[in-house]
């Protein structure tokens, strides 16, 4: 029997040498005349163990990692094909603590299947949600998604079902599903992992959205910084077209749906939905004022659903297993699961999908295992460059939209960056302003001018120039940006700045001058 060896093709695994490992494995198979094949799977999301090589045995899949190309020969010597012991052996993949503790609904297949095998996808209950969607009515699909409690996973947390209903009820000669895959927040990579590790689930989610709302055309707007995701998505769309999943008759039904992938061009602000729509239309990625809502006047002025990758990729499991199944996970108004991305200076960095409600401390200390450098955690930034910095004192905050908002923070796209005690919070606050200045679309004054003034003011504080007055000025500036900006870029940049200043005042104190003793 042919033995299957898995070597991930996820960009993070590639960044850590997976390509060389795959080549070395292929060479060993050939040199030793073994009956084995290599499958290039997505990542399991345990990046401290990548490249993670797995082998299929009758006991289940056995993991080895992190594997370097130079380790491969010794793995084969030890008996890799039978899952034999080796210093790098981690045992059964499913039993690894980090994986065992998760509830994988959206990422159920990621890292397990061959991302470009539609047979594999079907075998792992792929297209079951779509089949149900085809058999029911658009109104019932919208009801199911609404009842599931699913909220936009891009960061805004708007109920997905309500957005869909608006588009369903809107009249228009052509409606669109636009997938926001412009994942620009530092510490986030969930969208990338889905596109590289389970692209068909996104395609399935988009088709269901199309059937529900009457849209027949979908666009995936992704970042040019994600060449691997673009390549995998492009290939998956082609395969789905050939298999009759996409096209004029979706799975033989009367519904039509097509998807095109589009690449952005390095503008962070295009992750904001109206800016994204302008960019997709071929304009400067300038933010639009709302109303009109994109749901009514979106792409080319037509009714458009703009949803994040994870929102859309969560729809198939909701359709397959029902709204109640999904809604039963979570807490408060945050229902279902959330793929938390633990990144930065952390020992066990990766993707951890779980029901809402874990405390920040559990995520950082227990699941993440503290810092990679072994030094104490000083701060964590939750929600990307526009998210607040949390000190250890707030580690009891449960991972939930409302709980984070109540503490002047946001969960955003659920990325967490861990910093050790070497971090200078004034420098981080300055960076938040600098980033906003670089990426501002320029339409509104608070964001365009405020960010540059913010950098200058932070510099004055650092130089000890009238620190008290300048701290006040910085707080005032943040207030203006928060309430006066048109979109979240200018509006949320104050979160990292103010949280840094509030929770770490010692870093904003003037450098003590050494005075000569009289």
């Amino acid at each position: 029997m042919t033995v299957t060896i898995f070597v991930p093709r996820d960009a993070a695994a590639l960044a850590l040498g997976a390509e060389k490992v795959a080549k070395a494995v292929a060479q060993e198979i050939e040199a030793r005349c073994l009956d084995a094949k290599i499958v290039r799977n997505g990542s399991r999301g345990m990046f401290w163990l990548e490249p993670l090589v797995e082998v299929e045995t009758d006991r289940g899949r056995i993991a080895y990692g992190p594997v370097k190309a130079g380790d491969v020969a010794s793995l084969f010597d030890a008996g890799l094909l039978s899952g034999a012991p080796h210093p790098l052996c981690l045992g059964l993949t499913e039993e690894i603590e980090f994986l065992r503790q998760q509830t994988r609904l959206t990422f159920a297949r990621c890292g397990i299947t061959d991302p470009l095998s539609i047979e594999d996808y079907r075998k792992h209950s792929g297209f079951a949600g779509l089949a149900k969607a085809i058999a029911t009515t658009p109104a019932d699909i919208v009801k199911e998604v609404t009842d599931s409690g699913l909220r936009g996973r891009g960061g805004a947390g708007f109920p997905t079902g309500i957005k869909w209903k608006t588009v369903m009820d809107a009249a228009g000669p052509q409606k669109y599903i636009v997938c926001n895959a412009d994942e620009g927040d530092s510490a986030t990579f969930a969208d990338r992992m889905i596109m590289e590790g389970d692209p068909f689930v996104l395609i399935e989610g988009m088709i269901i959205a199309g059937i529900a709302t009457g849209a027949t055309k979908g666009y995936v707007y992704t970042r040019s910084e994600y060449p691997h995701a673009i390549a995998t998505m492009t290939e998956a769309i082609r395969i789905a077209g050939e298999a009759g999943i996409l096209g004029s008759s979706v799975m033989g039904s009367s519904y039509a749906f097509d998807i095109e992938i589009r690449s952005g061009a390095g503008a962070y602000v295009c992750g904001e939905e109206t800016s994204l729509l302008n960019s997709l239309e071929g304009k400067r990625g300038i933010v639009r004022a709302k109303p009109p809502l994109p749901a009514l006047k979106g792409f080319l002025g037509r009714p458009t659903v703009v949803n994040n990758v994870i929102s859309l990729a969560s729809v198939p499991v909701i359709m397959e297993r029902g709204a109640a199944f999904y809604r039963d996970f979570g807490m408060g108004r945050s229902r279902g699961t959330i793929p938390i991305q633990i990144a930065g200076n952390v020992r066990h960095g990766g993707l951890f999908e779980t029901a809402f409600g874990l405390s920040l401390g559990e995520i950082v200390d227990q699941i993440g295992g503290g810092t990679a450098t072994g030094r104490p955690v000083k701060a964590v930034q939750v929600g990307g460059p526009l998210g607040a910095y949390f000190p250890r004192a707030l580690f009891d905050t449960p991972f939930d939209y409302e709980a984070f908002a109540a503490r002047d923070g946001l969960i955003g796209h659920a990325g967490i960056t861990v910093f050790d005690d070497a971090v200078d919070m004034l420098k981080q606050a300055r960076f938040a302003m600098e980033f906003c200045a670089i990426e501002s679309c320029g339409k509104c004054t608070p964001c365009r001018i405020g960010s540059t003034r913010g950098v200058e003011t932070a510099d004055k504080i650092a130089q000890g120039i009238e620190p008290e007055k300048n701290r006040e000025l910085l707080a005032d500036l943040c207030n203006t940006m928060k309430f006066g900006s048109l979109c979240a870029l200018g509006g949320f940049t104050p979160y990292p700045v103010m949280s840094a200043m509030t929770h770490f005042p010692e870093d904003f104190a003037p450098t003590p001058l050494i005075e000569a003793a009289e």
């Binding site: 986030t188 460059p385 960056t417």
Partner: protein, 159 residues
């Protein structure tokens, strides 16, 4: 390799690219990406051709090209090295790596080495935040970049 050698007359080649793509809904970005893939940058003389074909003003095309960080107004080096400067990479010593790479190449960000081998650019997130600091040389990605790995990347880039 980042440098492209284009066959034939640039104006004619541009027109061909534009006509192949103008049927798309919102064709501008796909056209600009294709032009840059062909010439290595978006030449000034192509802007009026795009404007004419898409029924826009030259100012509108110029406005779009200059809005996006990706589009260049002059050719880059043979290779482009992008170094992530975002928070997750900062938390793992990204600043130190940035200083080191500038030193190794003898250039600052947005500059090209004198031999035309490599252009250094900052990037805000490559989605490799759990294996920071991260870099990308052309389309090749690198995680947990340290001094040793950096020297290897630079040697590769110098070729």
């Amino acid at each position: 390799m980042n440098m492209r050698v284009s066959a034939g007359d640039p104006a004619e080649r541009s027109l061909q690219i534009i006509r192949d793509l103008k049927h798309l809904e919102g064709p501008m970005l796909p056209i600009l990406h294709a032009i840059q893939a062909e010439f290595g940058y978006v030449p000034d003389e192509v802007k009026p051709i795009i404007a004419n074909e898409l029924n826009l003003s030259r100012a509108e095309v110029h406005g779009v090209v200059t809005f996006y960080h990706d589009f260049r107004d002059h050719p880059a080096g043979r290779h482009v090295l992008k170094l992530c400067r975002a928070e997750a990479c900062q938390s793992m010593g990204g600043d130190r790596i940035a200083e080191r790479v500038k030193q190794l190449l003898g250039i600052d960000f947005h500059e090209t080495t004198r031999d035309g081998a490599v252009t250094l650019e900052p990037v805000f997130c490559l989605g490799l935040c759990a294996c920071a600091p991260a870099a990308m040389l052309d389309d090749e990605v690198y995680g947990r970049v340290d001094e040793h790995c950096l020297s290897e990347i630079v040697v590769e880039a110098r070729r």
